[in-house]
């Protein structure tokens, strides 16, 4: 992952302020047992500013606009300056729902130039049918509401060259691509682009159409998956015959990414010329909870020890970690003592004690009573 960090103009000042922050955190720990003075005052600030957090960028919701029956767009105005970002990057939103914080990742669908001009960014979000958070967001995040956002991050950005591009998008996977196209147009970039957009309910259709008519270097094909099917060789030969000499940018559901990568690599496209981002995983809908054969069990990644294993049937995450040779701190192994609480980075787990499914985003879980339902990543 190459996170785009704005280069610091004055490294000395930077390390000085780092030292100050560390000294201040040390004092907060020593005097008040808190990780920072910010954490100490956080509950007080929350009295005046609901859901205020010491970390992250506070944003004001400017607009909540329906794009289609399943998609809405949030227009957000950050209340402090956003670090420089690139088209195609994403942010994490922290959403407070019934007393708990849920963290969700969304691509920015507007361009950095849009932000420079009107100080707002846009996120286009699909409402997950049986989801907990996205339907709530669509209904409750109205203009004036405040939410916290992480700085933009992500490596799915336009590669720096003049090589022509073939972009393949599926469903809401169009959002980072819309950001890229807007950014190119606003930059008067003359690079050749062909976009093949799969879906049956194409987002931003008018906007994309007008971009294509006004800019001869940009060609856009809308493919209706119900009538025209999915990506295959004849289709790409017809819509973008010179795809083999282009760099590919793919964003959409797993199946689209896999099909596109398989096709492109089989036709000799270098893997370094294929850029992609998984998108729109909606694990709460299709829980394959009855774990079938061992081959269909989800993978478990222990990020700090750089270990990737397949989950074992009828085992808790704690046992899986131990079988992988890790020694996580643990206690009662029955969900009482909370010693084995670990940070989950992503994935849905099932708590055998509370008999509840977890959130998809980062949160603390008890390893000894958690079973992964989808591929899961854990800080361990």
């Amino acid at each position: 992952m190459s996170l785009q960090q704005p280069a610091s103009p004055d490294m000395a000042a930077d390390s000085r302020s780092n030292l100050l922050v560390r000294a201040s955190n040390f004092m907060a720990k020593t005097l008040f047992n808190q990780p920072s003075f910010g954490a100490f005052v956080e509950p007080f600030v929350q009295l005046a500013y609901k859901n205020w957090q010491v970390d992250g960028i506070r944003c004001k919701v400017m607009e909540n606009r329906q794009e289609s029956s399943h998609v809405f767009t949030l227009s957000l105005k950050p209340e402090s300056r956003l670090p420089n970002f690139q088209a195609g990057q994403h942010v994490n939103l922290t959403l407070n729902h019934n007393g708990s914080r849920h963290i969700r990742t969304f691509s920015i669908s507007s361009s950095p130039q849009d932000y420079a001009r009107n100080k707002t960014i846009e996120l286009s979000i699909r409402i997950q049918e049986n989801g907990l958070i996205t339907p709530w967001m669509a209904k409750h995040l109205m203009p004036g509401a405040r939410i916290h956002m992480s700085p933009p991050a992500g490596s799915f950005v336009i590669p720096n060259s003049i090589q022509p591009l073939v972009m393949i998008a599926g469903g809401t996977g169009i959002t980072p691509i819309r950001s890229m196209l807007r950014s190119m147009v606003q930059d008067h970039n003359q690079r050749l682009v062909t976009l093949i957009y799969f879906g049956h309910d194409h987002l931003f259709k008018d906007e994309l159409n007008s971009i294509a008519t006004e800019h001869p270097n940009i060609e856009i094909h809308f493919v209706d998956t119900r009538t025209q099917g999915h990506l295959d060789e004849p289709l790409i030969n017809r819509l973008c015959p010179d795809y083999q000499i282009r760099q590919a940018m793919i964003c959409g559901p797993h199946s689209l990414i896999k099909a596109s990568r398989d096709l492109l690599t089989s036709k000799g496209v270098e893997t370094s010329d294929i850029h992609f981002e998984y998108f729109g995983a909606a694990p709460i809908e299709d829980l394959p909870f009855e774990h079938g054969d061992d081959g269909s069990l989800p993978t478990v990644k222990f990020s700090q020890s750089n270990t990737l294993v397949r989950h074992q049937s009828k085992k808790s995450l704690l046992e899986v970690a131990e079988n992988a040779g890790l020694k996580p701190l643990h206690g009662c192994r029955r969900g009482v003592c909370h010693q084995c609480v670990c940070q989950k980075e992503s994935g849905v787990v099932y708590n055998t004690l509370t008999q509840q499914y977890s959130d998809t985003g980062p949160e603390s879980i008890q390893l000894c009573v958690s079973v992964p339902v989808t591929p899961t990543s854990i800080t361990l």
Partner: protein
Amino acid sequence: MTKSLVRPDDHVLDAFANELDQLRSETLKKVGERDARYIRNMIRIQRTSEIVGRVTMVLGFVSPALWVLGVLALALSKILDNMEVGHNVMHGQYDWMNDPNISSKTFEWDNACDSNSWKRYHNHDHHTYTNIIGKDRDFGYGLLRLSDDTRWKKKNLWQFFTYLNLSLFFQWGVAYHELAGERVFMGKRRKKASKLPITRRQLRDAFFKKGGRQIFKDYVFFPLISGPMFLPVLAGNFIANIIRNLWTSTVIFCGHFTEDIHTFKMSECENESRGQWYYRQILGSSNFTGPRWFHILTGHLSCQIEHHLFPDIPSLHYLDLTKPVQEICRKYDIPYNTGSFARQYFTVVKRIVKYSFPTKKQGLTPKAA
């Protein structure tokens, strides 16, 4: 004084467990916004009283009454921090909030005992093996003889004074005890190799680091920045710590060492079912009654039975749970130990005094079957 008691049949205990499990899931459904607001309010009250306490103590040169007020406010802050906030947060009662500053993983309290050591021994040994002699090291803290299960030694003769000393310096007693200080410092060896993925050295470092930090802030930093009020502030901080120690020790003794508390042998508890575990938690704990503010000051450990049944349900719900839990106990004819604070405390003192002396052979009490 342990009454003779026969453990109900397994299938009865299974039905009993089902009712408690249902109560648990019904309560968990109610957990939400209200609990988040409650714990943040508690944290605000605690932090405000800490700041007020530390500032008014310095203003003691205006009037000694201000100094007294400051000491009381600081003691209140330490009590709230340790009981209603710290103890409950570290049990994971608020982990569902997913707030990194109100999480069992990260929370650190205003107490000499470092939170990781405490979670390790209190949450694990004490809550899993409640009142199993030889397993629950909190039963008597290795200092007091509180039942016939422990052999009488000469030192038990003056154990009432040992108890008073333990109460006065409870936070240090707990800090030393929870890291199994006698093993770490006195070099006593365990028979089996430690299963914990943590070394004695790490335990010792955690003890000195946390303890040192607590001493530094209360007895060096805050007195020093008070200038000429150095000594009164130092003394005030000392007294606030003592008040907190006496209070927490009293609450905890009333929750586990009252007259009718039962003890268990490891052999009785091997492979126990959930029903048997629930049963043991109820018999090993005792409640006491009082007004609402009083429950808050005890961190709702006044509802020790409910806490031991459901250690990770937010404490705000414990009071509401006392009634249904009591009804379920009545239905299954399982004793539920509750009474006024004064009465429960009286029986604690009675127990400590009683077991100061060797028990006559014929006086051996029948224990839970």
